[in-house]
């Protein structure tokens, strides 16, 4: 096989598929990228068996064919090549000649036969979404995923297509973020998956390439077809992302969300975030909590650590309910505030043992459990 390609396009393509490859692959073939040339483009594919990515790049193909090469090393070499024009020539014994300007590389590859095929999809359910919208939704819940591997069910974002809406949920057992949007869900297509954290990261990284994306899924796998119509650096067609899903039952998140509103305050998001952030500066590993105190039209935010000192912030707010006090882990409060982009958020509280709930006018909810000093 033989083709000529623009160096920057090639680099961009490799960058799309690079992250999937782990540093400690158990099978050598998994640290390789499958390069297939046909017609006017090449296709790049990588997989770690849980997650696979495929993209297509424009190229002048002289002779079709396929070969696999170590992707990390290849990406570094291609990026450093001196000339924009790169020729790529693979011999039948999987040796690849890479030439650009005055530099020539000969790289040993492995045959395509050993490369594990990406899963075939059959009778899956599928939906089309806006990339920008999904990006925002993912961002507003992704921080709440659990990183504790012993509870693997929670190591991902739950996508629930049901009752005329798509809900995204993430929780680590101490807080829960939920965002939903209206979507036409035919009864036969209703369903839910848990998308693993790694896939969520990759997906979020790719969602700025075009207008639409298509998500297809069944009980075991999910696939994303991401349009690349806005991309100007060589990508053609779509990027495909194939992922296993986390198998298991996601906890019933509805029961965690408080049904009634007790005290609701309206907050300027930026200002509140800054206050919490400043107060949290005195927190230590030992005492990682920030106390909120609500009195008539005043919100006081205090934090202290015995071996350092204390911080006190006050904010004027509109509040006429009873005085109340409650403490939270500051990062649980800051994470949703950082992820949102609305100017105003609502914060609902009840007492020192009940959860705090962030809401926006969109259908966003973040429930955080309080910390208590016993």
């Amino acid at each position: 096989m033989k083709f000529k390609i623009n160096r920057d396009h090639f680099t961009n393509g490799l960058a799309q598929v690079l992250n999937v490859v782990g540093s400690k692959a158990t099978m050598p073939i998994l640290s390789n990228v499958l390069i297939e040339a046909e017609k006017d483009h090449i296709t790049l594919t990588t997989t770690n068996l849980d997650l696979g990515i495929r993209c297509k790049i424009k190229a002048e193909v002289k002779e079709g064919g396929a070969v696999t090469l170590p992707v990390k090393r290849l990406a570094t070499i291609v990026r450093e090549l001196p000339n924009v024009d790169v020729t790529f020539d693979a011999s039948p014994n999987h040796q690849v000649k890479l030439a650009s300007g005055g530099s020539n590389f000969r790289i040993m590859g492995i045959g395509k036969e050993e490369f594990p095929p990406l899963p075939e999809f059959g009778d899956e359910k599928s939906f089309t979404l806006e990339q920008a919208e999904l990006t925002a939704m993912l961002k507003s819940v992704a921080y709440a995923q659990s990183t504790d591997e012993t509870r693997y069910i929670l190591n991902g974002v739950y996508f629930n297509f049901r009752d005329g809406k798509l809900s995204l949920v993430a929780t680590d057992g101490r807080r829960l973020a939920l965002v939903s949007k209206e979507l036409e869900v035919p009864a036969t297509s209703a369903g839910a998956i848990i998308l693993p954290a790694k896939t969520v990261n990759e997906l979020a990284r790719m969602l700025d390439k075009g207008e639409k994306l298509k998500i297809s899924f069944n009980d075991r796998r999910a696939a994303f077809q991401i349009n690349t119509d806005k991309d100007a650096s060589g990508l053609t067609d779509s990027i495909y992302l194939y992922s296993k899903v986390v198998e298991g039952n996601y906890p019933n998140y509805q029961q965690v969300i408080p049904k009634e509103t007790h005290q609701r305050i309206k907050l300027e998001r930026e200002l509140f975030l800054q206050c919490i952030h400043r107060a949290a500066l005195v927190c230590s590993e030992k005492s990682n909590s920030v106390k909120l105190k609500l009195t008539s039209n005043l919100l006081e935010i205090t934090a202290q650590s015995p071996d350092f000192g204390e911080a006190h912030e006050s904010m004027a707010i509109g509040y006429s309910g009873p005085d109340l006090q409650v403490a939270f882990n500051p990062s649980f409060m800051m994470d949703p505030l950082k992820a949102l982009n609305k100017d105003e958020v609502f914060f609902e509280l009840k007492d020192e043992v009940s959860p705090g709930v962030f809401k926006t006018l969109d259908s966003f909810i973040c429930v955080i459990m309080p910390v208590r000093l016993s």
């Binding site: 504790d148 509870r151 057992g173 101490r174 590993e285 030992k286 882990n329 910390v371 016993s374």
Partner: protein, 596 residues
Amino acid sequence: MAKVRILPDRVANQIAAGEVIERPAAVVKELVENAVDAGATRIEVEFRHGGRSLIRVEDNGGGMSRDDAMLALERHATSKIIEADDLNRLTSFGFRGEALPSIASISRFTLQTRETGAEAGTEIVVNGGRLVHVHECGRPVGTRIEVAQLFNSVPARRKFLKTDPTEAAHIVSGVRLYALAFPRVAFTLIEDGRIIFRSPECPGLVDRVGEIFGRQLAEGLVSLEAEEPGLRLRGFIGRPGAGRATRHEMITFVNQRPVDSRTLNYALIESYHESLPKGRYPAAFVFLDLDPAAVDVNVHPAKREVRFRSEPAVRSFVIRAVLQRLRELAPAAGPATAAPVAPLPAEPVLSVPWASAPALSQGGAIVRPVFLPPPPAPRPAVVASSAPSPAVARASVPTETGRDSIAAWRYVGRVHGVYVLFETPAGLVVIDRRAAHERVWFERLQAEFAAGSVASQRLLLPVPVELDPVATALLLDRLEFLNAHGFEISEFGRNFFRIEAVPAWMEPAGAEPFLRDLLGAVREGRFPDGAIGLAREELARLAVAKAIRLPEAAGEAELRALLSQLFACRSPLSSPSGRPTQIELSVGELARRFQK
């Protein structure tokens, strides 16, 4: 007057009772065994005040005629063997013929029995070894024995009894063993009028395990079945990776007799060598069946110990069988076994203090220079308290030159991810990151406990925990203590609890294993009642083992911070479990080893 006399029967019985009946649980054991030997399919055990004031065992077994019943109260009277040779063919529990007279000699003893086909039952009452009366009574077929005022005639023994809850716990765990051994017999256990457990006839062992130890445990078990000529092993064992902090759930039976056999226990632990980290024990309910002639149960009057004719054969058979089963499970067991615990370096290597950072070669074998001189001192026994052991103190010369000087130590690097090397003016110091972290956390938690400011993170989804009755009782006793130290655990039905909040440093998923380990420690008596200081220390010690996750990539700044935190501790030289946190190689020692 002759100095040597033959003791009257009553005294002899009381002496025998001293051997057989050491505590109320032993009475229960003897009576339950008799009931099983009598072929009962329903056994009811009731006791009050830890067995002190009343023990009642009632069965629907064969019963006895009036003459048999009278004879049963004589010493060395038994229906179970006829001649000494029968000991080699034992299939019943009892054979010594000592239990009933012994018990009768130290309590107020009431026996009611009716044989199948007999018109009326017999009631015999004996008080402190003296026959009170014998007359007819009405009762269904079977036997009922009531033992009241135990140890009334041996006040010395009475004094040595532990508290009622402790004695009750012994009785409960004893009855549970027999309930496990005979799933087809219905058991009821009643304490102070309250039903501790009631288990109907179960179709199989695993159902019985579920009834008694909770369904959660039973679901985590896998069956085991192996047979070789003359030996058969069956039962259930825990999955690889699911270990327990204590041996309480490692239960072995030989020919259906619950036993405490070192041979079997060690064989089980050894089989799990690669499947569980060191210091964790598997859950196992295994039955070993072999020719009665190949096992001697007549070692101890309580028959808790057994001896095998051929210990090595039994041992290797058990190891083979269990290993085989564990290997079969390995690929299917999922993430729990995906990262097997790295085999720990063998003990002898550790006994050379300055070689205790063995270089692990690719294969996991330990590369050790062969020319090392013999170890200068045996490895210090693990010290339970936080005081540094002598050997650790020896390794701590640098600290005596002052904490201020640690800033002058030069960071050399990280070795194998877990050790940190510093160059000091006096030589080289190797820090064990885990031990150091444990010490820092331990003192931090202790300070938190002492200050009474334990941050407790409430959980969105409470963690349900099902416990066995003994653990439930232990937990109920300590609920207040735990709830004052960052937990919020509430009772949620019989033997069922919900963890609603955990200390802020704990992962929600870690809560349940932690609670189980904690109860294991409580059972071993590591949380003395009333001594809150000790209990806090123990809680902190357990907690550090769980709380610490070493970050993969730690840079110089973090490791230096760790060093200064460590030296800010009260006793920086050892981890809370007594292992050294650091080893020093002095310049002189290095020179000596290079034979300069």
